[in-house]
Symmetry: C2
Subunit: 135 residues, 2 copies
């Protein structure tokens, strides 16, 4: 399951996609429109900024905005930034790989199954982009 934080991130991104290339959007506006606790939202947007998905402008007329064309940002990227691994086991994760203590990956049925699952998940999550959020 995606964390609530990640779900909030997607809701917020919906707003920013709609307003892509129309200047910064206030945190408070996103919070109000999507019913996200403002301070919690603040930390989410900050995280997305640190990871190079968003940028922000301070002062009057400031706010958050997308750096890249929404069609260039895969859904998978957002999940990894906010939630972490997408795979169901550490030993099959591409970005958060950890060796399995109790299984020899060469002959582990579970490992093989989860590799398949990961590939089929990523086939979708790497192809779908932020633009698909407001389809």
């Amino acid at each position: 399951m995606l964390s609530k934080k990640t779900q909030y991130a997607f809701r917020a991104l919906e707003v920013l996609v709609e307003k892509y290339n129309q200047g910064p959007v206030l945190i408070s506006e996103i919070s109000r429109r999507k019913k996200i606790p403002i301070k919690f939202l603040e930390s989410i947007l900050l995280q997305l900024k640190k990871e190079g998905i968003l940028d922000s402008k301070k002062g009057k007329g400031g706010g958050y905005f997308l750096i890249h064309n929404p069609v260039k940002v895969p859904v998978a990227r957002v999940i990894r930034v906010v939630d972490g691994p997408i795979a169901m086991l550490p030993c099959v994760s591409l970005y958060f790989y950890q060796k399995c203590k109790n299984c020899d990956e060469k002959h582990c049925g579970l490992h093989d199954i989860m590799i398949d699952v990961r590939d089929s998940q990523l086939a979708i999550l790497e192809k779908k982009t932020l633009l698909d959020l407001i389809a």
Copy 2:
């Protein structure tokens, strides 16, 4: 990510698949062979029994054993019993569905994406069975 509990469950099931139709297997044997804390393992096996995947026999010569032919038990079933939902959002879960507060499922891009992901996950997890664990 699957919980450690679920990973233990699969490790334990590997043993029971190998010994299918060869009588009960002691908790202590599974614990030793798979290096699973015995009391924690106890609770996992009990849960699998309550859900109709395993049965047990008490007394001398007792232990746990599979009820059904391993090829009849999909991996998805084990995950649902021990871990809960497989889907990435409550609003796209088949067995643990919960309505989305902030989205109208009819026009929600995120919803549609996660439906696709769920289907592709299940295509694998419903087809692969316990027998594949020891492939």
